[in-house]
Amino acid sequence: MRWKTAFVSSLLVLCTGALAQSPARAQEKPAAPAAETLPSVQEVMDKLDDLYRSTSSHGTVEMTIVNARGTRKLTIEMWTKGEEKALIVIRQPAREAGTATLKLEDGLWNYAPRADRLIRVPSGLLSDSWMGSDFTNDDLMRETSLEKDFTTALSWASEGGTKYLQATMTPKPDAPVVWDKIVYRLTEKDWLPVDARFYDKGKLVRTMTFSNIRDMGGRSLPTVMTLQPENQAESTRMEYKDLKFDVKIDDSLFSQQGLRRMARTK
């Protein structure tokens, strides 16, 4: 029996995973050295891994999912603390407003606003696409660093007169990665991601584009991310509307009471 759906639980991963890693150390880093010399792989990887990492965060994301059936737009508010704790509440659209997910060290719960009840989500529950988007669990569940799974080679590339730092990542022999290679292009000076192309068997399978670099929460970040599979009329776009790093968040928020409280406000 084919089990095809996705749960708010995945949203979670959004926080602790791909999106909510903050560039805590971005400011401390020295500016990129002279353009001709390549930086060390370590430096670039650290920068990428740390881009969204923080001790805690609070923000709002707008998500737009386009597929054959139409366009769906969601507004999500989220809080994170450390690597383990996260709380996500859907604010828009009205039908789903108040639906929330809580992740703690010892489990995952969804909050059903209509029922005003929590439901524990089995840890093994996986789904093939996240809320009908083009993101797969592979993107969202990524908790390991790029460094662990990939061997990276840096080079300079230019397109249309713009110079990019190009990081070509090939998975290590045993790394659980379905791609042949991922090619990241970063801005020349700040090493902020511009796009990432995913290849399998030498063919481009999908592209993730990072754009709209803005100052947010004291960091300069790409605030829009778009995932576009090759040859398909589908895409998923995520835009940070607001993001604060290292804010003080009370621990009581990450509890069942806190979840209920935050989900029911507004």
Binding site: R72, E96, A112, A115, I119, R120
Partner: protein, 420 residues
């Protein structure tokens, strides 16, 4: 003249005539009964495997057949179900919405198949109410209260969730528009269907509740139809298809008999019928052997009689004809009697059923995970009724040639002396 002689011969030796014709009759009758029993057995299997799931005919959107995505649902045109109900070949029609979602509480949850049903229609079309082991089946839908927020769980699912009747459960699922539907349900009953899939995964809710959860107002995924005789499913589906095309559906629709819904089942039954032919063949062989032996015996015993006939001037050719005529009469009488006997017995078992429990220590049976009634109702059709008659008649005639040929070849002196 030949006929007269043959008849006189037959009536003169009643014992032999009765035995020979009786042998044919018993073979034909039992063969006929066995075939109708096997037909009935196959019907029971089909009914058993489809009773709770697809039933005998299913109506879905064509794209739902290929890809059972939640959004491949359709709206029921007004009075469509009533039209279906009005057809004489349909006993009951039940519309359903099939959803996959998470069901549970703060402590644990499970992936479940949430089936939105009209409780009355589902109960009329399936044996679900008989499967209730605790609590009760969903209450009938009324106009002012189409939904109830009640759920009837499969036994295994209830055990996994550690809930009983009266407990509350949260359900979460991705609706047709990609949004997240959620609701609070109260356990109304628990069912043990014998179908492991349903027992482990099924959560029956009111159609209106499911439609709300899935954001599919007034829509359904399938209409399952219960037809009387499973072997008629293909005919019913074919008869329905044109009227479905004409009905007011915006999307292309497909009407499938159970053979198309459960091809593995249909294939299995096809193999069974191939294997059944072997069974029939063995029975025919055994029966033919019996008839052949009776005729050989008869030929032997009648040597003296034939000898006398030849001695008084009957030509071998005439004797041959007389014996053939005798055989034809005996075979025909036997086969007809057998057919009447077999049809009568089959019809009797078609209405009363055969209690399988008499043949096994078991009192209940399940097949492919679905419990079956322990009664098998024989199913008779013209082919079943005629085939044994024709086959055994042919066999009886061929076997009857033995004494005929023997009679024509007889050596008079030896035959008269009674030595062999």
């Amino acid at each position: 003249m030949i006929g007269k002689l043959a008849f006189r011969n037959l009536s003169r030796n009643k014992w032999r005539s009765v035995l020979t014709a009786g042998g044919v009759a018993v073979a034909v009758g039992l063969m006929l009964w066995t075939m109708s029993f096997i037909n009935g057995w196959m019907n029971a299997i089909v009914q058993g495997t489809t009773a709770l799931t697809s039933l005998q005919v299913q109506i879905e959107r064509t794209d739902y057949v290929e890809d059972s995505a939640i959004y491949h649902a359709f709206s029921l045109p007004d009075a469509f179900l009533t039209t279906l109900d009005a057809r004489p070949d349909i006993i009951a029609a039940t519309p359903r919405l099939n959803l996959y979602g998470l069901i549970g509480n703060e402590d644990r949850s499970q992936v479940a198949r949430i089936i939105g049903v009209d409780p009355e229609r589902e109960a009329a079309a399936t044996p679900i109410t008989r499967a209730v082991i605790s609590g009760e089946w969903l209450a009938p839908t009324t106009n002012d209260q189409p939904s109830s927020n009640k759920v009837v769980l499969g036994e295994g699912l209830a055990r996994q969730l550690k809930v009983g009747v009266g407990d509350e459960l949260v359900v979460f699922l991705e609706a047709a528009d990609g949004s997240l539907g959620n609701d609070l349900l109260t356990v109304q009953g628990i069912v043990r269907t014998g179908n492991t899939g349903l027992d482990r995964q099924a959560a029956y809710v009111h159609l209106a509740d499911a439609q709300f959860l899935a954001a599919l107002d007034d829509q359904v995924h399938e209409i399952a139809l219960r037809t009387g005789d499973p072997s008629r499913a293909e005919a019913v589906a074919a008869a329905l298809a044109p009227s479905i095309q004409q009905a007011d559906f915006p999307e292309p629709m497909t009407v499938r008999p159970w053979q198309a819904v459960q091809p593995q089942m249909a294939e299995m039954l096809e193999v069974s019928s191939a294997a059944n032919w072997l069974l029939y063949l063995i029975i025919y062989l055994v029966a033919s052997l019996g008839i052949l032996n009776t005729q050989r015996m008869s030929a032997l015993e009648r040597r003296r009689e034939f000898g006398v006939l030849l001695a008084i001037g009957v030509t071998p050719k005439l004797l041959f004809r007389i014996v053939v005529a005798e055989t034809v009469v005996l075979g025909l009488v036997g086969a007809l009697a057998g057919t009447i006997l077999g049809v009568a017995l089959s019809l009797y078992h078609a209405s009363v059923g055969i209690n399988l429990a008499n043949f096994s220590s078991q009192t209940s049976f399940s097949y492919l995970g679905v419990s079956l009634s322990d009664r098998i109702y024989t199913a008779l059709d013209p082919i079943t009724a005629l085939q044994p008659l024709l086959v055994m008649l042919a066999v009886a005639l061929i076997c009857g040639l033995w004494p005929a040929v023997q009679s024509a070849r007889l050596n008079i002196t030896q035959a008269l002396s009674g030595r062999s």
